[in-house]
């Protein structure tokens, strides 16, 4: 069998190990390549196995820097920090898009080339595979003895078993039987009779190439689904304090990242209310005191004009409502702080989310009182759910739950810098145009409060209270010193919609299925021939041909020969 008669080989890249070797013909001088010739040459190079391999390795190397340098996509704060730590190096790296490796021009170039190469390989192979699926198994080679697993068996068994009148009818019977058995084993079979020798040609494992093509096409599918489908989604973050709610509209989000093609009028304005956030911490295991065991946000969801329905959001169990997925990605305390002017009128009262700084939830928060007082007032606060004093005299929290909650406040007076309407973070205070009244170098002690306490602000500005929100607060019968309900918690919700997700999953399943089939289904040919020897006797010849990796071929041929040549058993 000459390589050229192999219909399958042609569809593979020239340098595929099972593709026929192209022998350069030295005697013929190649004509000069025209534009088309060069394009064909370039295309052939791009779709060659060697290029695919090179691009794969290049892709692996190109992915490395993204793990060495913080990325804007996954760690924006890390990037800011990196710029602060390496003011000289960072801009240079940024010039090479090192902080956006996976969307950078060079990384994209590599994977796009890889996928072009893949398309250039898959399309002709798909076409050939369709042809191969309809083609008949090829003619039986003249000399089977050249092929893998070649073995012979006597025809004798068939002569006796079938009481055949002649050798040739016994041979026919044997080949018929072989064809039937091969067909039953999943082979596509074709009878050939050449030079008076009956034979059967069989091929199986077309699924191998199907799997291969499905695998590569599904990879392409993932890329397209991520690239295009991802553009229709959004992700947004919102902090919600216990007892408060938020409506799924653009303005309600603390931060919002729309996809390229996202239309914000498609947001479904449902209302999400946080009833209670349960946090459970380890209390018994001495090695893990205070380690979080469980966070559960009890919420209720109310569709526009509909009834509200209860729901639960946990760390590993997002709530999927109204086409969006709600994740619980963080939590903390939101002390309720009230500021009164010297006349005792409330000028500010709110549960202010404090951002956790460590595992024991030492938290920092900012209170801004823009109106109602003589000057604008700002407070930077530390909250310790279980306050202890370090040897240095500094406060810290020793346990994340509310055992001995303490709030300290540094008070600033002056211009909050929010009058111009420029957006500023609610979690930071710019003290540049303010005067510090307590804490730090002022010589005045920071304000220190426990739930339910009120103290006077310095300079007779008024008073500040740390409200106790326990349901039984103020009840004289309440257990003394039980602070477990005294401070509200907040939940930090991520709300996502990614319409590409289902597609990506479907393609991923196809990838695995295609991979399994393409690596484990052997594609092989098998032939059985009743060969006539020069002395006139007829023997059964068996041989196979591997088409791709097929370590079990020889056993398969031998096993088939054994089974077939003993028709009696």
């Amino acid at each position: 069998m000459s390589p050229r008669s192999d219909p399958d080989a042609l569809s593979r890249p020239d340098d595929h190990i099972y593709a026929p070797e192209r022998k350069p013909d030295a005697s013929v001088t190649q004509p000069k390549l025209g534009v088309v010739g060069w394009l064909r040459f370039a295309w052939r190079q791009l779709t060659s196995m060697r290029t695919a391999l090179l691009l794969l390795l290049l892709l692996a190397i190109a992915a490395v820097p993204g793990s060495l340098v913080p990325q804007r996509s996954s760690d924006p704060n890390g990037v800011t920090q990196y710029f602060a730590d390496n003011p000289d190096l960072a801009p240079v790296l940024d010039g090479f898009q090192m902080f956006d490796v996976y969307t950078s021009a060079w990384f994209s170039a590599i994977y796009l080339l890889l996928f072009v190469s893949l398309i250039g390989c898959v399309i002709p192979r798909t076409k050939h595979h369709f042809d191969a699926l309809r083609a008949r198994p090829p003619r039986t080679p003249v000399r089977l003895s050249r092929l893998a697993g070649y073995t012979e068996r006597p025809l004798a068994g068939f002569e006796t078993a079938h009481g055949a009148s002649s050798t040739s009818s016994a041979a026919d019977a044997a080949i018929d039987r072989a064809a039937a058995e091969l067909r039953r084993a999943g082979y596509r079979v074709e009878r050939y009779d050449m030079r008076g020798e009956a034979s059967v040609s069989a091929e199986r494992g077309y699924l191998r190439e199907t799997g291969n093509l499905v695998f590569h096409t599904a990879l392409l599918g993932v890329l397209v689904a991520v690239g295009i489908g991802g553009g229709f989604g959004f992700s947004g973050q919102r902090v919600v304090v216990e007892g408060q709610s938020f409506v799924n509209t653009l303005a309600a989000y603390d931060s919002f990242n729309p996809g390229r093609f996202f239309d914000d009028t498609t947001l479904d304005p449902y209302r999400l209310s946080l009833g209670e956030l349960d946090a459970v911490y380890e209390t018994r295991n001495q090695e893990a005191i205070g380690q979080p065991i469980d966070f559960t946000a009890h919420v209720s969801v109310q569709a526009k004009g509909g009834d509200s329905e209860p729901g639960v959001v946990k760390v590993n169990a997002p709530l999927r409502v109204h086409g969006t997925d709600v994740y619980l990605l963080g939590n903390g305390y939101a002390p309720t702080i009230t500021v009164r002017n010297p006349d005792g009128e409330v000028v500010f009262t709110d549960a202010v989310p404090f951002l956790p700084q460590d595992a024991n939830l030492t938290s920092i928060g900012v209170v801004k009182v823009p109106d109602g007082l003589e000057e604008q007032l700002g407070m930077v606060g530390f909250f310790y759910p279980t306050q202890t004093t370090l040897g240095s005299g500094a406060y810290t929290s020793s346990y994340p739950d509310l055992v001995y909650p303490v709030l300290t406040l540094n008070v600033y007076q002056g211009d909050l810098g929010i009058n111009e309407g420029t957006p500023t973070s609610v979690y930071t205070l710019d003290p540049s145009s303010m005067e510090q009244l307590t804490g730090g170098s002022t010589g005045v002690e920071s304000i220190e409060l426990m739930p339910g306490e009120t103290v006077e602000l310095p300079n007779g500005l008024g008073s500040v209270s740390f409200e106790d929100v326990s349901p039984d607060a103020g009840d004289p019968d309440a257990a003394e010193g039980d602070y477990s309900q005294s401070v509200s918690r907040f939940a930090s919700f991520d709300i996502h919609d990614d319409p590409s997700q289902g597609w990506v999953l479907a393609f991923a399943v196809l990838i695995v299925a295609g991979l399994l089939v393409s690596l484990f289904v052997p594609r092989r040919r098998m032939w059985v021939k009743a060969a006539r020897r020069p002395d006139g006797t007829v023997v059964l010849e068996y041989a196979g041909l591997a088409r791709g990796e097929d370590p079990g071929l020889e056993e398969a041929v031998a096993a088939f020969a054994d089974r077939h040549a003993n028709p009696a058993t």
């Binding site: 000459s2 390589p3 099972y18 390795l57 692996a60 793990s67 979080p292 065991i293 991979l515 020889e554």
Partner: protein, 380 residues
Amino acid sequence: MTLDEISIILVYSAMAVYAIAFIAYAIDLARRSAAATRAADLVGVAPSVSAPAVVAGGRAATSVGSATDATTASVPESSGTVAIERAVPSAGEAEVTGTGPATPAAPRKLGASVASGATVASVAYGRSPALRVGVAMTVIAWVLHLSADVTRGLAAGRVPWANMYEFALTGTLVITTVYLVVLVVAKYDLRFLGTFVTGLVLVLLGVATVNFYVSVVPLPPALQSAWLVIHVFVATSATGFLALGFALSVVQLMQSRRESLAASAKAVKQNFLATLPDSAALENLAYRVIIVGFILWTFTLMAGAIWAEAAWGRYWGWDTKEVWTFIIWVVYAGYIHARATRGWRGSRSAWLAIIGFSTVLFSFTVVNLFFKGLHAYSGL
């Protein structure tokens, strides 16, 4: 004594037995070298006794038969006598490799075809007492190791792979398990890999107990998922298969170097490699082990993405560990392509397998400990 303390004692016991197994395997390798040298001497002294082809052209078309062939061919094995196994490739194969059609689709039987033409006499070698001791000790160590892993799981009340120590404990157990299973299943006698396997397991267990140990603590909420059972276990299994593929690739490179030396030089120093399968057989074995590892790794990646979607709100975010999982996947995809690329099969693809496993180890150690990311579950 708590269950965890029992588990630690079992780990140390397993390590001690692994150490004995390692020594036994090493002695076996030394004996293999001696056997190979003796065989070479025998050939030199009495060429008529052994295969004449070896002397004549130094190009005996030989094959290392299956393990059983090798054992039957050797005269009383424990006595240390060795025999040169004459190549008896079946008629068909001999023709294919020699004069077969030009198509590279020519079948390659494991170990039977010596593609490069660099052919070396292989020395049949049975199972020395040292090898038997090594395997027996490995089985005992495996039982201890398994008990250690199970008691750790019982002590923690969950699957024992939720932090780096437990991952190492289970991962090494999987490596040994894969090795023992392959011993039973494979056509070739792969007991010679014992030195590598027990050595690697011993080192990793040592590092794990000394540097990674953490006491039993409850699972953080992010790990409380059924995916912990699936994703992480599949990752450890993949690591087990890829480790074995790595070992086979290393031996393959050594063997192919020896083969090319033997093809070019008249005399080649005899060492334990003479008793092992030829490089083509090793390459095929490595490939088959690695594709299993690759599929498991693909599944690891996807299961991880599904879990990340539930736990972190996105299925893929280029977190450092995700990046390295991707890199490992791409390197092994490259390996599989290299196997199918003309000019890359053989030593080049073996190097890719070695690089691939290096990235696995890098991801497990350096990335876990020093890179900032969401996979911060080492417990250290």
